[in-house]
Symmetry: C2
Subunit: 135 residues, 2 copies
């Protein structure tokens, strides 16, 4: 009984505040098919979002911040929208992104190594006035 009751509808402005996305971006995301639930409208044509949409959008934000292109999120959303039966495809898509994240982590660590070394070198340099590195 704590399931889905009293899920008051949310306006686009509400959702913008909760997700940190602009209303423009929310409309863009909808056009691009990123939403996994159909967006309902009130009598006057205004969008009505559910709490679940907000959760989904929060995931979208995470996906975006890890570099997943809108097109990919859109594909995932379509699979979810289509309902049960395509879990294998969703899994594949997620695993691909897992790997891209792993790649990014590796690259970030590589760059971080480089920077850490340089930072240490410059700190030494500024403290002692030594070294004479390439840069």
């Amino acid at each position: 009984m704590i399931q889905k009751m009293e899920t008051a509808d949310l306006s686009i402005g509400e959702v913008a505040r909760r997700t940190g996305l602009s209303v423009h971006t929310l409309r863009l995301y909808e056009r691009e098919g990123l939403l996994a639930g159909e967006v309902r409208r009130d009598e006057k044509g205004r969008r009505l979002y559910s709490e679940w949409d907000v959760e989904w959008l929060a995931n979208c934000v995470k996906f975006r911040s890890s570099g997943m292109p809108l097109a990919t999120i859109s594909r995932l959303a379509r699979l979810v929208r289509e309902g049960t039966g395509n879990e294998a495809e969703r899994l594949e898509l997620l695993c691909e992104h897992q790997h891209r994240i792993a790649d990014q982590l590796a690259q970030l660590h590589a760059c971080l190594d480089l920077i850490n070394n340089k930072v240490a070198a410059y700190q030494r340099h500024l403290a002692i006035g030594a070294s004479g590195d390439p840069w």
Copy 2:
């Protein structure tokens, strides 16, 4: 005596192959001031790169892959080009990027958590046919 001798000049095509950047991109980077060494030219106006330039460009590639904007690399390159005396500024710039990398790592890990959970859920689902998740 193992310092800088026999540093044969490299053509832009050479450098492209070694750095993985296109010749177009190399020219772009030069226009944008990303190079820390002045690019020499031969009699006929063709660019001459040194091994050192290639190393610097390799660093640029790392910076880029960690999301450093061209403008920032350009600032760093300018500092390096200007020579000794501005190490504090270089350090500051590098430390800022250190923090941005830390942020990115956090975001990537957050997304990875989400995806790992979903992947595990779907694998369970496909193996047993269970669950009934939100998605």
